[in-house]
Symmetry: C2
Subunit: 448 residues, 2 copies
């Protein structure tokens, strides 16, 4: 039984291919989301469907896999049963891979007014909101002075850098034409980072390059800058300064999915589930926790690993291998992380890549490496084709396609278009508004 | 001033290219929807973004066009002002092209439980609902006996025929693999048509061919069959018979957008605005009504024209030409409709096309004609490429891509997945639940 169809869950399932076990994947969505490209959906570079792929289609060739679309309410570890909103599911082995949710660090107003970028609806909502503010300013130019076109990005990790770089390109190249009646010099992008440099986990050369390149492209980067409180139109900084900005992208970090808080398991920083070196949950030898939800360590060094896709994939694969060993009567092994490097893209022909053997790529080579790698990892040949087509088109024409304000559900779907779109209630798996100490601050995107 | 960015509105704007007038397009969405392909979005053949294109991008090359995203609340004809939810807009000439909304003909339960297919969110909701019922049946196989996999299509016009044909292909070829645990023979598609043949406006040979071809593909077609009432799981027929079916596609016809009911204009059958032969609204010589919202007649014959895309496009173009004539001091002309034929697709390599000069195409030639024509008319080169890619992929692999249950807004977005998705409240432009006499019954899709 694998709980969660993110990177960790998918690799756990794939690692059980051909094994003599029945695998059930449980997720509340019927699709996997390719999270590293969510920022491109948010900035109208890709369609939502380009970064999502149906779980049943992914495993249609793997005979021992079933899918169950369900929301869990708890786990009965003694009876080895998953409790669902409707019914229960029994398991012999369980891999918990429910991922993370946005960490608002208790900043007043952030959960209500900040736009996170962790799940697919986040990306669509952010795109809808930014375009709606431009439409509102077009109808009422006075809103420009109020900050309708200004975007503030909280967090200078990979997600913050990538979304900021993509936003200035969207503004300069696309919306400048679409909204010829507006003064696009007022469409500013400001990155606020609490530490004194961007891209903390990257090597010094990459950090400096990212900072210079973002500034060269017109992004305002403010280092050593802490957010005190926010509302829908204002960002208040620690020193008392107030930024007028109708859009607040919250890229400051994540914490473990709060659904695990109610499971009675030991948790560490960021609410992450403490695991043994073999990734099993202490006291439950048939339960593994992998990926963002777990406090995964590299067994040989004891180092806590970041909440990034490669760690999720490798830890999921590791859990599958251990389940095979346990069924064969073999002892489990400690998890060893193979660091293949980290990447972040800044924009058209600009990226930084810290690769093994101290290889650093920047500029066009970094960007091409980033492109290729993300294409290889995108699930599904059809999605790869579609993404490639979109990117190629964007590169040639500076156009972007899906700049649609598309509401498909709920009362907002047909409501008045001029009301600012408030982001939704937090994650359905449980309350996520509990304040929590800042964790490592490491961000979402990295290369495997 | 052009109100509405559908086929009628877009062609009115395009017809004013180069004219010495300022054109403002008003729509509550920032995109145009290519309605003839909505059924493919509903059946997971295309992405929502493939059939939508930003209005600002369409007219970026036409210097005299502005766009205003707004919802109208009324029109002050005396002061020549559009009343918006926020503010007013003045006009010299006005083209009303607000389209239609679904006609539920007062059937009890239809507005609450039927899934129409007229706007883009309709298509996404229908797709989400069908896939959700399959997921629910996978979790609780008892639901199959209750009709969870059965779809009933009300209306045997072009939309009904097209959606029914696409559904059996989706079930037989795609969901049969995705849901190997279900008995897909229970995934039935039933078309209910009140008259005694399908595709009323088509030529007899095409009608017969469509009926035979649908039945050959496994669609249950019931002619002379009237719906008495519906709820979320049952369809009650006039004779007392009850069909168990959790999905009801409402393709029985449309009526004029109810927003015009409050304008004090004379309306005819289906709530359509009565217009003079030149398409001007009686008593308001500066106001035109075109497309689905208007009771458009062919001036030479006096024949009332169907609410289909080619009529909308040609009438929009006509209004633009008359505005040019009025500004040049010339008299207006009556609207002449050039009938270029009608088409409906039944599925892979099957379509019927009634072309001029009594040319009828069926089967593969009809299907190829349909493909080419819809590609030519899809707005935007990028969308054409993406649609072509999707179609080519579907043809080669029998796969379909975007079978995602994707809620992006509102309380449902993160709610429990097992609850049946109720369709939304009716159209925001006004109440659409007023019973109304059946109009011509002519359907939505046709060729220009």
């Amino acid at each position: 039984m694998v709980l969660g169809a993110g990177f960790g869950g998918l690799d756990a399932v794939a690692g059980l291919a051909g094994a003599d076990v029945d695998v059930t994947v449980v997720d509340r969505n019927n699709f996997h989301t390719f999270q590293p490209l969510l920022y491109q959906v948010a900035t109208a570079g890709l369609n939502a469907a380009d970064v999502a792929y149906p779980v049943r289609a992914i495993f249609s060739g793997q005979g021992n896999v079933r899918f169950r679309r369900a929301e869990i309410t708890g786990i009965d570890f003694d009876r080895r049963r998953l409790r669902l909103v409707a019914g229960e599911l029994a398991y012999d082995h369980l891999v918990i891979a429910v991922g993370a949710s946005t960490n608002f660090f208790g900043v007043p107003g952030a959960a209500e007014h900040g736009f996170p970028l962790y799940v697919l609806p986040d990306a669509v909502r952010l795109r809808n909101h930014i375009l709606s503010r431009f439409e509102a300013a077009s109808a009422d130019p006075g809103l420009v002075d109020d900050g309708a076109l200004a975007v503030t990005v909280v967090g200078g990790g990979a997600t913050g850098v990538e979304v900021a770089g993509a936003l200035v390109e969207l503004f300069d190249r696309v919306l400048r034409k679409d909204f010829a009646e507006l003064d696009l010099s007022r469409a500013t992008v400001t990155v606020l980072e609490a530490r004194d440099e961007l891209l903390g986990p990257f090597r010094p050369g990459s950090r400096r390059h990212a900072l210079e390149e973002l500034r060269r492209r017109g992004v305002r980067v403010r280092l050593g800058c802490t957010v005190q409180s926010v509302d829908g139109t204002r960002v208040c900084l620690a020193g008392g300064e107030v930024i007028r900005s109708h859009t607040l992208v919250w890229a400051a970090g994540v914490r473990a999915n709060p659904v695990v808080a109610g499971l009675g398991l030991e948790t560490g920083p960021g609410g992450r589930v403490v695991v043994n070196p073999d990734l099993r949950v202490p006291g439950h030898p048939e339960v593994f926790a992998v990926g963002d939800v777990a406090l995964v360590r590299d067994a040989p060094t004891g180092r806590v690993l970041a909440q990034v896709a490669p760690v999720a994939m490798q830890s999921g694969r590791h859990a599958a291998r251990q389940i095979r060993r346990l069924r064969a009567g073999l002892p489990t092994e400690g998890f060893r992380y193979l660091d293949k490097g980290t990447m972040a893209t800044i924009g058209r022909r600009a990226a930084v890549a810290d690769l093994p053997m101290r290889i650093n790529l920047q500029g066009t080579p970094g960007w091409l490496a980033w492109l290729g790698l993300h294409l290889v990892f995108l699930v599904g040949f059809r999605n790869r084709l579609s993404v490639l087509l979109n990117w190629f088109w964007n590169y040639l024409t500076w156009d972007r396609g899906p700049r649609l304000i598309l509401h498909t559900e709920g009362p907002d779907a047909l409501g008045p278009p001029d009301a600012p779109d408030a982001p939704d209630a937090p994650d359905a798996l449980g309350p996520s508004d509990a304040p929590d100490a800042p964790d490592s601050g490491v961000d979402r995107s990295a290369a495997s």
